[in-house]
Amino acid sequence: MKRILLQQGRLIDPSSNRDEILDILITDGKIESIKKTITPPPQCEKISLKGKIITPGLIDIHVHLREPGFEHKETIETGTRSAAYGGFTAVCCMPNTNPAIDDESIVTFVKTQSQKANNGIVDVFPVGAVSKKREGKFLAPIAELVQAGAIALSDDGAPVFDAGLMRKALEYANMYNVPIFQHCEIPELAHGGVMNEGIVSTELGLQGIPSIAEEIMIARDLILAEYTGSRYHVCHMSTAYAVELVRQGKMKGIKVTSEVTPHHFTLTDEIVRSYDTNTKMNPPLRTKKDIEAIKEGLRDGTIDVIATDHAPHSLDEKEVDYNQAPFGIVGLETAIGLSILELVETEILSLSQLIEKLCTNPRRIIGREIHIAEGEIANFTFLDRDISWKVEKSIFKSKSKNSPFDGMTLKGKAVGIFNNNQLLMY
């Protein structure tokens, strides 16, 4: 029998409106008891969490684990380790692998690998492809993917650009109550662009990706989601008007949810002036006005989820000129620090609201809620809300180090996680 006593941590669980300092006794991976104080039973590991916060296990629903196919960037082993050290007990991995997750055998492969990785401390929920080979032509075997364990469908990295296919995907996925995660981009408007279109792209002579490329796709999809009555999730929203469209969609009763990445509420396109390829991602970094709208969207609930779009690339791939460099940055190990710094310190969100965006809401969207109650599986993240720390990308657990946040001082950090009867304190 393996027993762990979490002592005097402040449990914040938005789903049960709980915020109190407690002891939690875990026996063989399950919550045996939650009380103000618990007398330690014999042969029990005691973990003092005085001054620390206990949350239900955080999840990042937008991660690129790169395996199979791009193991030089990241593997399921290194990606889940990065997640664990970033404070996440679960991730959803995107299907733009090679082969793509467009077949139940690949879903099974990813799940098997993830159970072996780091003793299975991080749950990996695969996102299946919408279309075969993510080519946007024919529906992938959605029912089989869902049955094998896919929790959502997406062609992320690319949009489902054919409106007819998007309609069919929404209708088909709705039979199984899984959402479509859309990478919102009109290819004809975005094509060739490498950064936000505006004064900075004009000055730098880099081709822009206009905000309308994202917004027009969202507008189209909202109409499709309304028409089909299906569940639609906007990935990595980046513009002010996109936030407004989703807000209006929600008011109309459309089943829409949305996510934003920490970099899109932290950085603007001004940082691209360095020509540092770690500032290149898709959607691109936008403007101050967009950040303000995103923060308002987070505050008023238009934006449900904070997800990282963790996109590892090797140094060689990124150390080229700006046009040639691939899109994307790693994000798992900086997400909490950026969120607390930019959102909680500035009182845009309370801690409880932040946990909603990093746990309650995303878990509800993919149907993997956790309940903190006696008899339930123990799945926790432990946070130090007050620590100031400096990002050092060289010590990232991720195989890739492509981060624009190197050297930046962040606020708040995970200090450990517990999941699947595994404790990791760091």
């Binding site: 792209s201 730098l204 150390e319 046009n323």
Partner: protein
């Protein structure tokens, strides 16, 4: 007193004093170019590589001539003949060249920021000879030199740049440099070829050439890349010429002489009619000679820095 930087990457952040120094230095080099013996020993023993990843005859010959006039040892590297086609990265190429103990690198590359990137991977002085759609600082400097020579000073001068502003590094360098020197800059072209939010740079935007001509002293006519027609930026070259082409007839209507510049090579009778190109108000051939003088000045100032 020398330049404030080890490299010449662009004119956007180049201080006024530096521009002034380059233009003044070029005056004496132009004087040398008009002597019977045009060579000086200033950069003897220095090795300069011309790293050209994009086809260019004019800029490369102009740089090469400037380098040879200064007695530098010159190495030409053209992308087509190199291992770049085999997938070697800019970084690898640059490091290899650096291993051969090069003092200065002149780079032209189709990616914006490539010259900037190079300064992080090599120790040599870097001169940007055109990076994508970003900057072409020596072209901007030679245009300013030509205007200053003609008008005496740049402050208060009204200059319009006409054509494909969106894809033009020449336009950007001209805007930055001329504004630093106190000139008033406007741009003119089809709306599809004007970059987003350019007016935030303090540049007036025009779409009708006849609105511009009466109010300017000089017109810098950009080359229209013939592939822009295929790219759908305007319906046809014929229509472009009819509505944006600079012709004798249009200039006459303006009522006063307008000085004409063009970075070359000219598409005659597309952006510029032949009679204007060869006319009395054209500085085009003078620009070519001034280009050598400007490049000598830049190479000299960077190459002899302490």
């Amino acid at each position: 007193m020398g330049l404030s930087s080890r490299h010449l990457l662009g004119l956007q952040n180049l201080p006024k004093d530096d521009i002034q120094l380059i233009l003044d230095t070029a005056v004496s080099f132009k004087e040398i170019l008009n002597r019977p013996i045009k060579k000086v020993p200033t950069l003897q023993g220095k090795t300069i590589v011309n790293l050209f990843f994009e086809n260019s005859t004019r800029t490369r010959t102009s740089f090469e001539l400037a380098e040879r006039r200064l007695s530098a040892d010159v190495l030409n590297f053209a992308a087509a003949a190199s291992s770049v086609t085999k997938g070697e990265t800019l970084k690898d190429t640059a490091r290899n060249i650096e291993a051969m103990k090069i003092d200065m690198v002149v780079i032209r590359h189709n990616a914006a920021g490539s010259a900037h990137f190079l300064t992080h991977v090599v120790q040599a002085n870097v001169i940007n000879a055109g990076d994508g759609q970003h900057e072409h600082p020596t072209q901007g400097l030679l245009d300013m030199y030509s205007l200053r020579e003609k008008f005496g000073e740049l402050a208060g001068l009204r200059v319009c740049i006409i054509g494909d502003i969106l894809h033009s590094r020449v336009a950007r360098s001209n805007i930055y440099g001329l504004q630093t020197m106190g000139a008033e800059v406007s741009v003119c072209g089809p709306a599809t070829l004007i970059p987003k939010e350019i007016e935030k740079l303090g540049v007036k935007v025009y779409h009708h050439i006849d609105d511009v001509l009466p109010n300017i002293d000089a017109l810098n006519v950009l080359r229209i890349q013939l592939e822009r027609e295929a790219g759908g930026f305007f319906p046809s070259l014929r229509e472009y010429h009819r509505f944006f082409g600079v012709t004798e007839e249009r200039l006459k209507r303006a009522g006063k002489p307008v000085t004409i510049l063009h970075p070359g090579p000219i598409n005659r009778d597309v952006e510029l009619s032949a009679d204007v190109a060869d006319g009395p108000h054209s500085l085009i051939l003078e620009q070519v000679l001034n280009g050598v003088a400007i490049r000598m000045a830049v190479l000299y100032l960077l190459g002899t820095q302490q």
